[in-house]
Amino acid sequence: MQQAEILDFLTRFFKTSGCTLLPTETGGQLKVKLSEEMDQLLMNRPFYWHYIRQTGGIPETATLLFRTDEKSDDGELIYFGSPRLHQIFEVAKKLAPFVRIYQEPLIHSSPALEPWLCLNMKISDQCDLKRDRIYSVGLQLINGTLVEGFHEILSKLTLSPKAPDYCYTLSPLITVRSGIRRVEKLIESELRCEPSDWSDSAGKRWERDQELLDSFYELETEKPEAYFQEKEALKAQYQPRTVIRLINAGLFYLQSRSFLPDISKGR
């Protein structure tokens, strides 16, 4: 993440979270007066907030000054690995795990909006090494159409948290619960088709170390505690697994004609 992208991210984050951006003297800086909610989430001062609540006092929220320029020393240096940025990443995830969103109708379009389930996931392949990828998928809850790369498509649409006037939403035929199952099945079948060289070699490493361990305790008829413990540790170290976690999920009501024909891959 480049410094300019970081500043852009922070600007959007603080605007969205109701904080007040203040003017700065030079570029590469960001000054922000926190909202009460953000102060409580970011500043780690529960005693202060407890005190304010108990006494009914007027809180003074913190003002933060960030800089992306390493050489200057005015303000808190923020860079991709900085703990503050990661704290903010976590807060963003915490604040928007689930959304319900409507598409703004285009002129002359149908007033009917179709329900879509959007799941943004992180898929991690893990043994003693690890890699991740992002997987975003949309499932139309009437006819079961599945669209991959859904989040990118959403970003091209005009969306709103409120149902637009003169539109109505179609009722889903597929429940969200079974929609989630369908997506899981899809992920599972796709993963099963992927090359498994990484897990094969992890399996071999595991096997080899397990053989060494067995030989180490070969002569002991009653294996000591240490043997079983080490065996578990080898499993934790090498056992290949693919973990699928949710980033966030949403229910989207979208126009059917304007959206589907040119983008979906239809299944």
Binding site: L95, D132, L191, R192, A226
Partner: protein, 558 residues
């Protein structure tokens, strides 16, 4: 082998409940930011390091990055880090921890270090790596905190022990791991019982003595890797110290040990400039020194004790007094009263300390931060008083200090005092690279200890050339030893790795004991000199072989 698929479904009920209750819903913009945040943070490849890019403030050396990569990718997170002193083992360990944490492969981390280094580790991990490490202070820390630094002595004692053994650690790091070489110790057995997925053993001297030590160290990491005890002995042992199938053993060990040497790092190391200064005793000091031999002649003490006394007398009369008083208390009888009187009279006759005065001159001339090493606590105290008398500020430093005091003394030295006076035990594990002058006020007989002293300042981060001054009194035991170490085997120019290897090869790990024996057994000065010469030529010839080998290997590579 098919990977297991694990779906995290913990969010599903919450999501469905929100649909039923029609909210609460997050904002669309925040939804997108959260998605972007995770997209930025994914690690798309199994290979390579992410951590260096996250640590722009940390200046990493190529060998450190390479080491972290090797440990993670080739050694699968179980390794012995055995860099030479001063190449930044802590940094390498920090980098590996950070990489595993970023990738989400390690969360629960335990770092066991000598008590005196706990705070230093905590501070380095926090400031250099933004790793929220905490020192173990209360017992709840074991379960509540993710990254804990503790001394092994605390961790292995109840009530901590059972708490620690309950934890499932992703990563265990043990500093100064050569202390775990004996499998019968409580420490070893404790470490063996820790639940750990990844493990790093840090040591500067991996193979100190016996072959079995390397076996037990490796067996902590990977039981069975070198076979079981019996098959190991059968395959490799042919005596306590000698090795069979050495090549094979080396090859095996190298697959889980990283050992960077100064020469391999490609870094421009500051030079070592060594100066030897010898000086004469004053007349009174000389008389006192000579009188000590009377104790042996009269049969009151053995050769070894005389040697100790003589070395002490070369340091300060205060140091000699401590030992003399002990002998006097144990052995004084009416028949020896005259002798004792003479000795204490001569001791009282010593009114000045020639070496201390020389040191004072030297410090004034250097006019910069100086570290003075002495073997004796009494000398340390004396020097502090003596410097004070002459307007030189100094702070003491000893291994016995509590960790807080050590940090405090280091800070005082860095910011306020000109001189730090350290006793031997204070040598390990502190970094003083802001100073570049070191005075060996008296010399230890174990060459490795000298290297450890120098390693305090001749390490990564040292920007100036390092000056080492060796002091010795002419015509005493000290001058013999200086002559041997300095002029004959050129110890001070050696780097530790080579010396390590040379001493190992000629089975002379206990050079100090050998030297001591020579002193004790020699009847005359001439005999002494011949024996020391023999010793030095043995070491030197090994040294030459070694250098030839190195040269050979180097030219063979091109």
């Amino acid at each position: 082998m098919q990977p297991i698929l694990l779906f995290d479904r913990s969010w599903q009920e919450d999501f469905i409940k929100r649909i039923e209750n029609d909210g609460p819903w997050g904002k669309l913009e925040m939804f997108e930011l959260a998605y972007q945040a995770d997209s930025e943070r994914i690690v798309p490849s199994f290979h390579g390091l992410i951590a260096p890019g996250m640590l722009p403030k940390l200046k990493l050396h190529p060998h450190q990055i390479e080491t972290a990569k090797t440990v993670i990718e080739d050694m699968h997170g179980k390794a012995i880090l055995a860099d030479e002193v001063g190449l930044g083992k802590t940094i390498e360990a920090g980098l590996i921890i950070k990489e595993y944490m970023i990738r989400g492969l390690a969360k629960k981390v335990l770092i066991l270090v000598p008590a005196s280094l706990v705070l230093q580790w905590v501070s380095e991990l926090n400031t250099k790596f933004s790793i929220p490490a905490v020192p173990q202070r209360k017992s709840y820390v074991w379960s509540q905190c993710d990254v804990v630094v503790s001394s092994i002595d605390t961790a292995k004692r109840e009530p901590h022990r059972s708490l620690v053994l309950q934890q499932n650690y992703d990563f265990v790091i043990i500093d100064e791991a050569h202390k775990l070489k004996n499998h019968q110790t409580k420490n070893y057995q404790f470490v063996q019982l820790l639940k750990k997925k990844f493990c790093l053993l840090l040591t500067a001297t991996p193979i100190q003595n016996r072959l079995s030590e390397i076996f037990y160290l490796v067996s902590l990491l990977k039981p069975g890797y070198l076979g079981d005890e019996e098959s190991f002995a059968k395959t490799y042992k042919s005596g306590i110290r000698s090795v069979r199938n050495e090549e094979k053993l080396k090859q095996l060990v190298n697959q889980l040990m990283v050992r960077n040497r100064r020469d391999d790092t490609g870094l421009d190391w500051p030079k070592r400039i060594v100066t030897s200064l010898d000086m004469s005793f004053s007349k009174e000091e000389q008389t006192f020194y000579d009188t000590l031999s009377e104790l042996r002649k009269s049969g009151l003490i053995q050769g070894f004790s005389l040697l100790t006394l003589q070395r002490e007398a070369c340091s300060s009369r205060e140091a000699a007094f401590v030992t003399l008083r002990k002998i006097y208390r144990d052995k004084a009888e009416p028949s020896t009263a005259v002798l004792w009187n003479t000795i204490f009279e001569k001791l009282n006759g010593v009114q000045s300390n020639s070496k201390a005065e020389k040191t004072l001159d030297l410090i004034r001339k250097i006019n910069d931060k100086v570290i003075v090493f002495t073997e004796y606590r009494a000398t340390q105290l004396y020097l502090q008083w003596f410097f004070k008398q002459h307007g030189i500020t100094s702070v003491p430093f000893s291994g016995g200090f509590r960790r807080g005091k050590k940090d405090w003394m280091r800070t005082l030295f860095q910011n306020q005092a000109q001189v730090l006076i350290a006793t031997e035990a204070g040598g390990e594990g502190i970094n003083l690279q802001f100073a570049s002058h070191l005075i060996n006020y008296d010399l230890p007989w174990n060459p490795m200890r000298i290297e450890q002293r120098i390693g305090r300042i001749h390490r990564l981060g040292q920007k100036k050339d390092v000056h080492i001054y060796n002091l010795a009194i002419r015509g005493t035991v000290e001058s013999h030893i200086l002559n041997l170490l300095y002029n004959k085997i050129h110890l001070f120019e050696q780097v530790i790795g080579e010396l390590d290897e040379i001493l190992e090869k000629i089975d002379l790990k206990d050079v100090d004991r050998q030297v001591q024996q020579i002193f004790e057994e020699s009847e005359s000065d001439g005999e002494l000199r011949i024996k020391l010469d023999n010793l030095s030529s043995v070491i030197n010839s090994e040294n030459r072989h070694f250098l030839e080998d190195v040269h050979h290997a180097a030219s063979g590579n091109t």
